[in-house]
Amino acid sequence: MTGINCEGRTVLLTGAGSGLGRSLAHALAEAGAEILATVRRPETGVEVCEEIQAKGGRASWLACDVRRREEVDAAVAAAVERMGRLDVVIHNATTPLSSHQATLEKLDDEFWDEIVSTNLRAAFWFARAAYPHLKAAGQGSLVLLTSGAGVEGVPALAEYGASKAGVRALAKSLAQEWGPDQIVVNCVSPAAMTVAYERVMEQDPSWADHIRRTVPLGRVGDPLEDVAPAVVFLASPAARYITGQTLVVTGGRTMLL
């Protein structure tokens, strides 16, 4: 039986320096994966890798601005060079502007470009660059982080939600195109206490009460304990017959299908 672990899997993880990404890095390493962690700030890459290595895990880091195609291509190349092959790509990186709340008419083209470049365009770039390596690996997996804002439509996160909705459709199309190559493509839609979420709670203290009332499990998820296991599962061989899906990890707040 295939276990839900990533022993022997090589993983490229973006946005690994902080927040949810940092938790994902730890969880994947604990599950046996070797990781190339891409980060915006080098010091965070050093920190997360030292933490992982101190626990016996295998990880290296690379500074990568996912808004720049040459850096995306370089990250994929580095992953293959350092780890010998590439089994899994997890695109988690986003921009701090993703939590900036404003209705659509108050935003400009520059804001939209920042949002779409990190969330959607980068997903396309990573997919394109990684495809031959995931195909060569034999049981490849692409995991894209999306958001409930991309399902429900959130008034003050219209552009962020749109970019994340695009990620879901991109994943479904890729799943169809890559299926013959035994590469699975899935999304995770989390609601977790990240820095961005904390910022939202600070701006609107009533949000905590709103969570208690609207989330069946009555709390915001913990990145490491609640969200990371879902990502590890989709990155593992145990999910090899699951593709084109979105795993919603929100404590029941969003119930699709």
Partner: protein, 219 residues
């Protein structure tokens, strides 16, 4: 009703423009008028008369209808099939909010965003992103007198590779209703748009109507 239609120069937009012009005051918006927010606001603003009451956004750049495998797609092809589509929609929605006192916006797009589509991944991403924009704006602007909807239509109603691929997909899938040809689907689309534009849909906003003989049944 004073209605602006984008994409009226061809295919599905032309179909809607022609039919709605029978009993409405229709203003056709060109692609160039959607390239910037400023241009969109000028195009959708009052033209000396009363303000618009509705917009039917059926425009997508022609490039969007060309197929392309994502792993082989250039950045320019990606932009033409995905981001250019979104820029036009964002400018349309922003202009609507700015220059209209309220009204109805109906975004017409192929249903490929609902389940993805092999060979049309870039455009399917744009379609789903547009649906989310509609929902977000419906929530944000409902109390400002706006209702927004999406119509997710059969690919047979569109152009180029998308329509040709739609033929092949139709052959594989079984419709819930007896197979309808493009002319029948076109009338279905017109009827759906007229409903959403009318007072009969006064209690609806943020909805997606699938006009595809029941092929895809989203949530």
């Amino acid at each position: 009703m004073r209605i602006a239609i984008t994409g009226a120069e061809r295919a599905i937009g032309a179909l809607l423009a022609k039919d709605l012009a029978r009993d409405h005051d229709v203003r056709e918006i060109t692609p160039a008028q959607l390239e910037t927010r400023t241009a969109a606001e000028a195009a959708l603003g009052p033209d000396g008369g009363a303000p618009l009451e509705a917009i039917v956004h059926a425009y997508a750049p022609e490039a969007a209808y060309a197929g392309g495998i994502l792993s082989e797609m250039s950045d320019e092809e990606w932009d033409g099939r995905c981001e250019a589509v979104l820029r036009a929609t964002i400018h349309t929605l922003q202009a609507a909010r700015t220059v209209m006192p309220g009204g109805v916006v109906v975004v017409v797009l192929p249903n490929i965003g609902l389940a993805g589509q092999k060979g049309f991944g870039a455009y399917s991403a744009a379609c789903e992103a547009q649906r989310c924009l509609v929902k977000a704006c419906a929530r944000a602007w409902g109390r400002k007198g706006f209702r927004l909807h999406s119509i997710a239509a059969s690919p047979l109603l569109f152009e180029g590779d998308l329509a040709r691929d739609g033929e092949a997909v139709s052959a594989l899938l079984r419709a819930s209703l007896p197979t309808r040809d493009a002319a029948q689907l076109g009338q279905d689309l017109i009827d759906a748009a007229r409903f959403l534009l009318s007072d009969k849909a006064a209690g609806l906003t943020g909805s997606t109507l699938s006009v595809d003989a029941g092929r895809w049944m989203p949530l």
